[in-house]
Symmetry: D2
Subunit: 273 residues, 4 copies
Amino acid sequence: VQIVGATGYGGIGLIEQLLRHPAITVTSLLAKSDTGKLLSDFFPHVRGICDMVVEEVEPQRVGEDADLVVFATPDRVAMQYAPTLLERGIKVIDYAGDFRFSDLDAYNRYAARQPSVGGRPHLCPDLLKQSVYGVPELFREEIRGADLVGNPGCFAITMELALAPALQAHLVERQSLIVDGKTGTSGAGKKLSVATHFSEQAENITPYRVAAHQHGVEAAEVLMRYAGSRVGVTFVPHQTPTVRGILCTCYAQLSKTISGKDLYDVYFEGVRS
Amino acid sequence: VQIVGATGYGGIGLIEQLLRHPAITVTSLLAKSDTGKLLSDFFPHVRGICDMVVEEVEPQRVGEDADLVVFATPDRVAMQYAPTLLERGIKVIDYAGDFRFSDLDAYNRYAARQPSVGGRPHLCPDLLKQSVYGVPELFREEIRGADLVGNPGCFAITMELALAPALQAHLVERQSLIVDGKTGTSGAGKKLSVATHFSEQAENITPYRVAAHQHGVEAAEVLMRYAGSRVGVTFVPHQTPTVRGILCTCYAQLSKTISGKDLYDVYFEGVRS
Amino acid sequence: VQIVGATGYGGIGLIEQLLRHPAITVTSLLAKSDTGKLLSDFFPHVRGICDMVVEEVEPQRVGEDADLVVFATPDRVAMQYAPTLLERGIKVIDYAGDFRFSDLDAYNRYAARQPSVGGRPHLCPDLLKQSVYGVPELFREEIRGADLVGNPGCFAITMELALAPALQAHLVERQSLIVDGKTGTSGAGKKLSVATHFSEQAENITPYRVAAHQHGVEAAEVLMRYAGSRVGVTFVPHQTPTVRGILCTCYAQLSKTISGKDLYDVYFEGVRS
Amino acid sequence: VQIVGATGYGGIGLIEQLLRHPAITVTSLLAKSDTGKLLSDFFPHVRGICDMVVEEVEPQRVGEDADLVVFATPDRVAMQYAPTLLERGIKVIDYAGDFRFSDLDAYNRYAARQPSVGGRPHLCPDLLKQSVYGVPELFREEIRGADLVGNPGCFAITMELALAPALQAHLVERQSLIVDGKTGTSGAGKKLSVATHFSEQAENITPYRVAAHQHGVEAAEVLMRYAGSRVGVTFVPHQTPTVRGILCTCYAQLSKTISGKDLYDVYFEGVRS
C-alpha cells in the first residue's frame, strides 16, 4: 500500500491501522509537507514501528510500488490520479469526496456545498459509475470486488449507520430526519483556524454551516437507497471541546408504532446485513 | 437578603451577582455544609468582598434578618418554609422547582419526572396560584409585583426563550418541537458523580434522560401559554466537557414560510415584550 | 493470569495489554464492585474481545486457575494473599506499594507518607527480600527470574527513569534533586473526589501533598542504588486537566560540566542497560 | 484613554477592566486587524457596553484624543510612538517589553532572548531611565508619578511576586532559584500556532524554551533589586490545556532555617510594602 497524504491526521490514523494488519505492507508515504523527514520525527509514537521517509508527491511516484494507493488528501486530489492508476491495474481508495457518489448529479449537489470544491466540475465523471461507497457495514460485498472506493465523510457515516435501518424498515417519515452532530476538533485536520484555536474552542460548543454542511447532502444521497425515494435531512453540526469522536443525535417522526424489542431487531439486523 | 444554600454553585453564583447590586444587602448565609466557616474560606475569589460566616440552616433562623429569602437549594426545601415566610411578610425566591408552576397538575407532571422529588406530593399547593415564574424576559411585570417567585430550570429557560416567540407568532407546528441540549458540568452542582468525574467526562459527550428530563416537562408547561394549547417537546440533554453554559439547538416544523427579516422581527419583538 | 481488581482504571488498562499478548491467557477477573456483570457491560470498548464475568474476590478463589495473579488493588491487599500464593508456586505482581521495597525500613518510610496505609505494619516483611521492583528498563534481569514483583508508583517510575542515568554517572549533586510533577486525573482512579470533579478540575492546575507525596519517598529509595548513597528529592505533584499521562520536569545541580553529546550517551546507555 | 491593539486578548482584557472604572473614559480603539467594525461585532460580550468602532492605527491618530495611551501591542511598537507622545504631555503604558528595563544592558539581555525582537536595537534608549516597571505590589509609588510605564511579562510578574519577599529577607540562596511555570493558551494570544491548535494541546502538557524564555531574564533583572546582587533563575515554562491563568512553582535553596509563622510574616510584609 502507498499512502498519499501521510502526514495529516487522517494519514497517520490510517497508518496506525495498516501497521497492525498482518497481510498489508505499507510501501511508501507521500505528502506535501514534512517531506524528507521520517514519519516518526513528527509522530514520535510510531518510532521504531514506522521510520519510513516521507516523500514529495511527484506524479510519476504515485502508485509506483503498490497494488493499492490510499489518498488521505483533500477533495480533488484523488481524481487527478485515479484514471491512470486504474488503467495500470492499481486499486484506489479516496478519503475525500471525489468518489463517494455513483452519478454526477449527486456529486454536483455535494460539490455545491463543499467549500473546498467550490462547485468546480469533476475531472473523471465516468469513474463514478464504478466507484463504491466505503461503508463496510452497508456495502461489504461491493467493497470486496471494487477497484475504486470513496470512503465516507465522518459525519455522513455516522448518520447513515444511525438512520439506514429505520428507513429500510419504513419506521420513520423519510422527510422528517433531523441530525444534531457533535464533533471533535481532529475532524478539521491539522490546518490551523480560529475555530480550532485552543483559547476559542475550550469551554465552547459552536454550531456551524447550519443546515448547509456537505455531509448532510452526502448522507441524504446514501439514505435515499434505503428509503426508496428522496429523503429530507436537516443537519446541524457543532464543534465541541473534544479531539476525537463524533456523536450524532438523530430525530425522526415515527410512521408506525413499534415495540422496543422489534426496534432492537430492526437495528441489529439492519446494521449486520 | 438571606441566602439559604449559600455554599453550592447556585448559591455562590447568586452571591456574586448580589454583591455588585447597589440596592441589595446580603444579610446572612445559611447552608447544610461548610457551616461555621467563612464563605471566603472555600470560595477564595470573594476574600475581602464577602467574608461572612456560613450558618447552619435552623428553622427559626430562616427569614430572621431579611425582607427576601432566596433558596438556592434542592427541590422540596423552599416549600417547607414558604408559607410561614409569606405570612410574616417576607418575600421568597426559589431556585428549585417548588414554585415554577401555577397549578398542581402541572407540578405533578414535573414531579413525576424529577428524580429527586420522586412523585411526592406538594406541601403547600395553595401557594402555586400566587407564585410567578422567574423569567424576566417573559414575565417582567408579574415578577415586579410578586411575593413568591419560582426561578426556572437551567435547560427550561433556554428552550423557552428560544421557542416562545415562534410559538406566539404561530410560525411553527406546536407538536413538532425538538430540543437538543448541551450543558456544562456546573449544572449538576457540587455533588460528586461518575458523570462529572473528570476522567469520565473529558473527551466525552453523553446523552442522558433521553426524552425524559424534567426540564422538558417544565418548558412544555410554559410554552403552552404562548402556543395557545398544549405543545409537544422532545428534549434530549447531553453532558459535555465544559463547565459553564448551556446551548440548546431547537428544531420545529415551519407552519408557514417567512422571510429572514420578518423572522428577525418576531424574535426581537417577542423577547422584548 | 488472574486479575484481582479488574474493574478499576489500572485493571482495565492491564487487561487491554494482556489481551494483545500472544502467550498470555486471562483466566479470571476478580473485583469488589460490579461483580456478576460482564467486564464489557461497563467497559464497552472490550465487547466481543473480553466478555468474561467479573467475580467477587473470595479468598479461596484467588489464584485458583492461574500461574500468575496480578493485583491491581489498593495498598495492603496483595500482602494478604502473597504468602499463600507463593507457597502454592503461583507468581504474584502487585500494582500497589506492598512489594516495592527490599527492606522493611524503606517500606516504613513509604508507609508513613501513604495516606491509605497510615503507617500500619507490613503483614509479611520476610517477603520483601525476595520481591523485585517492576521497572524493566532498570531491573529487566531480576524481573525475569522473580516470583514476586512490586510494580512502581506512577510518579515514581517517571522520576526514576529521568534521574537514574545522571546519578549513576555522577553528573548531578545527589542532594539537589527537584521534581515538578504533572499528572492526569486517571492516576487518582475511579474514586470520586472534589479534586477530580470536572467543574473543579477543568481550567485548573493544583499542587498537592507538596514535598510530602509517597512517590517521592519511593523514588528516593530506588535512586539511592544508582547514586551510591542517600539522595534528596523535593517532589511537588500537580493535578492537571488531562486524563492520561504524567510529565515530570526534573532539576538538579550539575556536579561537573558535560557536553550535550556525552549527556545524550549517558542517557541512552543508562536507560538501556 | 486610547487603546492601541484593542482587538487582541490583551486589549479586550484591558478594556473590560477600564469600562468598570468610574474615573476613566475609553476614547478610542486602534488596531491593525478588524478595523472598521464595532468591537462588539467580534467580542459580543461587550455588546451594549462598548460599541465603539475599531480604527486603523494611523500615526497621526495615536494620542489624538487621550491623556494616556495604552499599547497592548507586540514588542517594538510602543517605542515608535513613545518619544512623541511624552513630548506632547501624553502618558504611555506599554504591555510589551519595550519599557520594562531601566538600562540598555538589561533590555539587550531581554531582547537577545525574545524571538520577536531578534536582538534589534532599542529605538529610544534614553527613555529607559524614566520608565517605571508596572507591578503595583512592588512599585506603587513610582507608578503613581510615572509618565512611562512598562507593564510586566505574564510569567515574569508571577515569579517576581513569589520570590521578591524571600530574596529581600535573604531567606534563600540567590543563585539557586528554579521556576517551573504552567500557562494557559491565552498568553500566546490570538495568533494561530500548532502549539495552541486544540487537537494538539488538549490532553498535553508541553515544556518550551527550556531555560531560555525571555521572561526568566526579565524576572532576574527585577529580582536583582531585592537580592542586592545578580540572581540565577532557571525557568522552564509549560503550555497546558487551560485558557486563562498562570501557575509558577518556585524552588530555592534555603540560606537559613525559618519558622512557618516568620515565613508567613515575610511574605505578607514583603508583598504589601
